[in-house]
Symmetry: C2
Subunit: 486 residues, 2 copies
């Protein structure tokens, strides 16, 4: 007996089951405030409840949803919980979830322009919108009204800031060696290629250098000042020293909003040093970049961007687009494409050969790609730019309030002035007490804080940005922190 | 005025709008047979219809869906159309779309076990299910009933075969150099690390070697026989020559199901050569791997897998899981994790430190990750193993039928015996006539064929695997090909 395609997709069944899943999710979001933020399961607690073998015959959606309720949900740390203040947020929204649903349902694969032109063109265009909203320079635009002739910038969506950074690092490597490394491989011998980032830069810098074959030892970690900002003079000296010794300054990462405490590197000074050595300047604004939609926060965030070779941030962190959505812009798409393009016969097509279209598979590690632009486009349209700005402002204001409460309580120490919506603090009683407080708060189930090392201290981080988080949630978190501090 | 979180997520509005999107998608799938498979738009045809600026104020879902109908859909190449026979399929299904919806709606980020234990454990377990369904060796299992003590295999979901290959290549590179390249960088000097793959292997091998800093010139392209299968003796000779010359055979890719014609490399012979030189053996079964769910096709697909270091295939190609879903197994997770792990302070947590859990960010390029296991798990459960097998069988049978029709028509030449569900053919009248036939078929709108270079010829590829494709669609495609051949 043949397989019935309706078992894979039947429109009427999809309508029925789709509604059930939509309703299940609506219920889930409504129940979030009552759930513990942090999962309470022990290792193997989920797996041990699952059957050993895959089923031979189909099971119902009801059976699956029942297992999700019983086995999966207790094993989740609820990133969309209003009391999730850990790491940086990965906030979803109704428009972005529906955008992801549409992308999955359309099931197109946009590796080439020709394999779904709308998938490519909506992405190009939405990133032009976003570039404008952030006030980034026109050189990053694919289509800019007043772009200088001969500029060939553009934007692309990747899964994460780590992947975006790896791609730009490879582009930098190839630009520095006139494509010789792509052909003959890296030669970290007498004249190694060197990478620069602050001591507080994200772990993806080190990981990128490892994957791209440059090596962790050739990542110079430049010191930061008391606000967690890179010392641009120290960078310049280090680059000069390397150049004098015959090494090749290749790639500089400026972090706009460090993970530990939200430090914003002085990009203009960094750009001057990078330019003197012809090094690629990448700005990693993964979290803080979103705040550039507000003119009043934009200044330090986009400062120096006009001298950067690439600039990336994550709409999935603080702009209501569900994970994954990293927006990456390059000032010149040429080096990126030359570094990453392959063109086997089976992908050749007329549109590519005319040179008038973008094939985004040449801008990323994987060949295939989802239609991620839909969720970004739908979020921008269905939320609107002005409400997105107001939302960021609220979070920044609440962070300032929280910091004020902390400062008024002599048991607490604010380790840094709040950076946008991130508050970094500790108990004066020391690391052990601070770690115990973190444990106690997180065990309560109503708030989750992660930590970092700041000023040599075990620092608690309150990163405001959750979709459901409101001022009251933040006030409750302070009450919790205050009362558990003992 | 503060931003109202309900503008980002309101449960009642989500129920209403979610239904509208579900219904829109059901209508879309029902309309697919009437749509032209291949988009008919010209470059810039989509973008030029979009407003120049993002909206300041929110727009309705209705407005968005109207634009999708008017602007986006005409710009799509419909990968889910029953007449889509190009490249390899990227087939979606109702359970997988709902799984992706759940993943987006839950919005958890599984970079660490601790950041959502169920996200990690369901992935580990579902890949154990899938390993068993494919008949892959127990050494690839994370939890195997009869696993030999000291084995530490396991599976992970990545976005694509390209990314999976890159990760295993980096693991191979680090294993070959005892982690020296991660520290000090690649030194493709006197003793370069060498990569091996057949001339018909996927472009991701070259791209991986470029990104990982080994260089395209150090990828040896081993010849294939008339069936597109790697010549294992030629591989052995090439590896021996390299070793004798002081070079380091590092990474061998065996392709199980080449893109051009579905050739299946002789993995056991390749494994012998790889083992002699201590090189990492990666099996790229991106498309054909799915067919191993059927015992009658399994033999050549999993042959030699017990000697492979890693083995990957794409459930998103031919197993009804929507893109993206690449399943990658390693026989020993140690080298992969040692090659890719970073452990900054802000990710430290008790579960990781006990060593008893998997942190999947150490198995991939990006740090963050979606809950992709849901869609794989839901597809396996809601379709069931036996129907999945029957579906593969149908496609293989229809490919054989199509090949029979071709062979009965003297104008056509079957360039290879069908490989599973892939038929590779040409017109005897020559490349120009074949390309013209392709153009004519694709312009018709009712079927889409892509091409490759096979036996020096412009070859048309009929890859059967669409979700809605049935025997009648295949028969109609033959009618179309036959009548348009002139």
């Amino acid at each position: 007996m043949e397989f019935d395609p309706a078992a894979a997709f039947d429109a009427e069944r999809f309508r029925r089951e789709g509604r059930a899943v939509i309703d299940w999710l609506a219920d889930y979001w409504q129940s979030l405030p009552e759930k513990p933020v942090l999962s309470q399961v022990e290792p193997d607690g989920v797996r041990s409840q699952l059957p050993t073998h895959a089923p031979e015959q189909p099971e119902s959606l009801d059976a699956v949803l029942a297992d999700i309720d019983r086995i999966i949900v207790p094993g989740l740390t609820h990133w969309q919980h209003p009391g999730f203040f850990g790491y940086f947020p990965a906030n979803a929204s109704s428009p972005s979830i529906l955008g992801e649903l549409l992308s999955a349902g359309l099931g197109v694969q946009g590796m080439l322009w020709a394999t779904s032109p709308a998938c490519t063109e909506l992405e190009t265009h939405t990133l032009d919108w976003l570039r404008e909203l952030l006030g980034l320079p026109e050189r990053f635009a694919s289509h800019a009204p007043a772009a200088a002739p001969g500029t060939h910038g553009g934007g692309v969506i990747q899964d994460s800031a780590s992947s975006g950074l790896l791609c730009t690092l490879v582009a930098a490597r190839e630009r520095a060696t006139a494509l010789a490394t792509n052909a003959r491989g890296v030669q970290q011998g007498d004249r190694p290629l060197v990478v620069y980032a602050s001591v507080d830069a994200h772990s993806s810098v080190e990981k990128g250098a490892m994957i791209a074959g440059l090596g962790r030892d050739w990542v110079r970690r430049i010191p930061t000042n008391a606000r967690g900002e890179m010392d641009a003079a120290a960078l310049a000296r280090t680059m000069d020293d390397d150049a004098r010794a015959g090494r090749v300054p290749c790639f500089v990462v400026a972090t706009v909003g460090t993970t530990a405490c939200g430090g914003i590197d002085p990009v203009p000074g960094i750009a001057t040093a990078a330019r003197r050595h012809g090094a690629w300047l990448h700005v990693d604004a993964a979290w803080a970049g979103a705040a550039a939609v507000c003119p009043e926060y934009r200044g330090p965030i986009v400062a120096g961007a006009e001298q950067a070779d690439s600039w990336g941030f994550n709409p999935h962190k603080w702009l209501l687009v569900n994970f994954d959505c990293h927006a990456l812009w390059v000032a010149d798409r040429g080096p990126l494409i030359r570094a990453l393009a392959t063109r086997p016969e089976y992908l050749r097509n007329r549109a590519t050969e005319t040179g008038g279209v973008i094939d985004y598979s040449d801008w990323q590690v994987p060949l295939g790609r989802r239609f991620r632009a839909l969720k970004l486009w739908m979020t921008l349209r269905m939320i609107g730019a002005e409400p997105l700005r107001q939302r960021i402002r609220d979070h920044v204001n609440w962070a300032a309030e929280f910091a004020g409460w902390l400062q008024a309580d002599p048991r607490f120490e604010l380790l840094r002035e709040p950076s946008l919506s991130l508050v970094t603090f500790a108990l004066r009683a020391g690391d052990e007490a601070t770690a115990a407080l973190q444990e106690s708060v997180n065990r309560s189930g109503s708030a989750f804080l992660s930590h970092a090392r700041v000023a040599g201290r075990h620092a608690l981080r309150l990163a405001i940005g959750g979709t459901l988080t409101d001022r009251e949630t933040v006030a409750n978190a302070w009450d919790l922190v205050r009362t558990r501090a003992g």
